[in-house]
Symmetry: C2
Subunit: 253 residues, 2 copies
């Protein structure tokens, strides 16, 4: 039987790796790295750092393939994502079929946690549902950007006894649901930043969390939004990519 590990390596800081992940890294024979357009070099470097730092026996293999790119011209967001997942499923299937021998362990290193806004698990489920390939798989959780954001800003995610809502920039544009006063926003291309500008909210923003390039900005949304948008533009230009997350909190009434 082949085995596939989906290892959450945390959000940016190699120290976010858990002992469980270190054990999993040491169990793997092959690592599958997918390039991801512009983020490519920095991300692949962090994956390499994690392997080099934590794996004791250096006899592992790394198989690197170009990752598919989501078509921004798809008729709607979800159909674009589904097509992208199908493409990934074909690539992952070939990798597992061709690059992994029976009894071997292959690993995908996932930024943050495989359970939160990551497609690897869905793609693996899709391959297994097709039935052409058989393998075991395991998921190793990792520290998410949400947790890095809270720790670095030294804030609690939830008000006492209240919910935490984790959402996307796209969904934030539709407003927050009823009775939700705190939201963490991920996957925002910047367009969600002003969605609640007319309300009395605080923002806790972070980019490149956990890395030496980390930037934190916090305060009233109206006071900070320009600084954040400037930082987003300048940093994206400088590094070629940006990854940011923020928490919005309504001022208690």
């Amino acid at each position: 039987m082949k085995k596939v590990l989906l290892i959450g390596i945390g959000a940016g800081n190699p120290d976010y790796v858990t002992i469980q992940a270190v054990k999993a890294l040491n169990e793997a024979d092959v690592f599958f790295f997918l390039d991801k357009g512009e983020e490519k070099e920095d991300l692949a470097n962090l994956r390499r750092t994690v392997c080099e730092r934590y794996i004791e026996d250096k006899s592992y293999r790394i198989v690197e393939v170009p990752g598919p790119v989501r078509d921004p011209g798809a008729p709607d967001y979800k159909s674009g994502v589904h097509a992208w997942h199908r493409e990934k499923a074909q690539i992952f299937s070939s990798l597992i079929a061709d690059e992994l021998k029976d009894g071997e362990v292959g690993a995908f290193l996932v930024w943050g946690d495989p359970s939160l806004y990551d497609s690897t698990l869905r793609v693996i489920d899709q391959i297994l549902a097709q039935g052409a390939l058989a393998f075991e798989y395991e998921i190793i959780p990792g520290i998410t950007a949400v947790q890095a954001l809270a720790a670095e800003h030294k804030i609690a995610l939830n008000p006492i006894g209240e919910p935490v809502h984790i959402t996307t920039g796209r969904r934030l544009l539709e407003g927050l649901p009823d009775k939700v006063d705190t939201a963490v926003v991920m996957l925002d291309n910047g367009s969600g930043l002003r969605a609640l500008i007319d309300e009395d909210v605080e923002i806790f923003w972070g980019a490149y969390l956990g890395t030496p390039d980390q930037i934190l900005i916090s305060g009233k949304l109206t006071d900070c939004v320009d600084a954040i948008q400037t930082a987003r533009t300048e940093e994206r230009e400088r590094k070629g990519w940006i990854m940011d997350t923020y928490l919005l909190r309504r001022t208690p009434r």
Copy 2:
């Protein structure tokens, strides 16, 4: 200057501890352990295991004090919590004032992550706001029960591009907000389990996540709810305490 570390040690499994937490554990001179009623022995044991397993120089001290208990007879939930935090702030203040010398590092080991449904950070903020004590502090994120639940059930927390709502049993009784189809429920005394029983939802339930006693149950809520309630009752009787978490997911329309 004194320094206080709030170290997330993850939810149950000592392997959930991160490298960052291991470094923080090794930086601490004193660990403050608060007993917590019935959970006392098992929880204190896990904290001890984490110290013993990961700290290289065994010259650290452990200071153990009885933790205050939240008054279930308080006029309402939040005022009960506030009173409980004030009591904790007094205890923590004395610990930091009396048990920590200048230049020393004290640590609180927090189950899961200090940013999610944990009072330690709020209590520390309260002490600093009072201004009588000065110290630095840092937060080290940890794997939450939410992430352990998702990893063990091998599920994604979010539907594609959709939000994740993390809430409490108490709040679930008021129903889910608009447009929220997935919710993770924490701090439920069991009363929230039937809140959505009349709707078409799946449940992914877990107790004692990450520990050798871990129990997982999943399926349609109507089919599973009795088994879950029986397991809750039996296990609480057997171990003297229960800690469980679950994800509810509306069947896609």
